[in-house]
Point group: C2
Chain length 205, copies 2
DNA sequence: TGTACATCAGTGAACGCGCGTTCACTGATGTAC
DNA sequence: TGTACATCAGTGAACGCGCGTTCACTGATGTAC
């Protein structure tokens, strides 16, 4: 950590980083203002210059997380290129990759018990992420004959739930403790079977 | 609450009940020994006659939860009657029903960060619940021609993940906040699509 | 049935701790002239 | 360039609090004879 004088210069960011590390390491309640301040090398009172309190800091983590999540999903979808099906599967992989690469954000978003209305912008960011999933589901379902199309939001909810469930049950704690499959294998095979059930034909093995 | 003398008579059970209420109401960290003792109408020191500490009490909740979970799943499966398919779908409903009826247990089992090795019996109970799912998945997959059978543990993992994901994302907090579908609708439709993808034919709509 | 005594399951006071947060303060920085 | 001053972003001490846990204790219960 670089030397610094009386003023930190970048404390808000440093506190966010510290909180993310603590949350990723010890769960949503393993983060305290005091410890985040210590990690950022400032006194315990300093964080209150940047956040009204603990709640606000966590809400900010969740908001940033949803923004990042939406960006990554959007990038993975790439307007449905090269094909809706391939793009959709890329979105699924991005979901898992986000949880793995940004565990602190993920926990703040989904496990901290934060309420979406607690910060202005949180609900908006969460909505944006959801919009990407809805668009992917919508575009893909257009490939089916009209009478077999599932409701878009149901479709998206299934994929979200499967992804989230795999992350919570099989990507946390001791990997492989629950079986011989990686989370990625599980998600890919699960989405594959699901899509076949919807009527997207795949090479039958 | 009934009058009592110096001895409570049933304190261990009362503490477990109190802890379940607190956890269901306020999350895995919204439970404290002190508050559980107060709910049970004893001093803060009394719980230590029955549990070595907070960890052990939570582990006991999780263990009981897995036993109950296994019982319910087993009852729902009923040896595959009347048909493996119907029994399998009953298991899916039982999964959701358990989370709804026993939220304290569910949280202790899956969201408390408890380690399966922390109490003798916890891992065994969790294993037993998993065995029921594996058996249901196995029996059902026998209905498919051999070359199309999915690995049993993968099959069971998909169903677990979908169920768990739906519970975490759509059954908590404000119901319906995330869409017009109930958790039960989502699970039933999701399992239906998945099973069709595996080759179980259903009336095509 | 009565008594002595071991055991059990509580009490209440105390501990050390870390937490979130407030407050008066002060050192550093930026700006107007 | 220099000076006065407002503002900003820290400090450090203190607060009240509730927590998990320990300890010596005591009232209640069960048992041997």
């Amino acid at each position: 950590m670089a030397k610094r004088g009386y003023h930190h210069g970048n404390l808000k960011e440093a506190l966010i980083e510290a909180a993310l590390s603590l949350i990723a390491e010890k769960g949503p309640h393993g983060f305290t203002m005091a410890e985040a301040a210590k990690l950022a090398d400032v006194s315990a009172a300093a964080p209150y210059r940047h956040f009204s309190g603990r709640e606000e800091l966590i809400a900010e983590l969740a908001r940033q997380g949803f923004e990042l999540f939406a960006d990554l999903l959007e990038y993975a979808y790439r307007d449905g290129q090269p094909s809706p099906l391939a793009a959709f599967e890329a979105v699924g992989r991005a979901y898992l990759a986000f949880a793995r690469k940004h565990p602190g954000h993920y926990v703040a978003m989904f496990e901290s018990g934060i309420l979406p209305n607690s910060e202005r912008g949180l609900a908006a960011a969460a909505g944006r992420a959801n919009q990407v999933l809805l668009r992917a589901a919508h575009d893909l379902s257009q490939r089916l004959p009209a009478h077999r199309r599932p409701p878009t939001d149901m479709f998206a909810a299934h994929i979200s739930a499967l992804s989230h469930g795999i992350i919570e049950l099989y990507a946390r704690s001791a990997p492989g403790a629950r079986g011989p499959f990686t989370p990625d294998d599980l998600l890919e095979s699960g989405i594959g079977i699901y899509l076949r059930g919807l009527g997207f034909l795949e090479p039958d093995t």
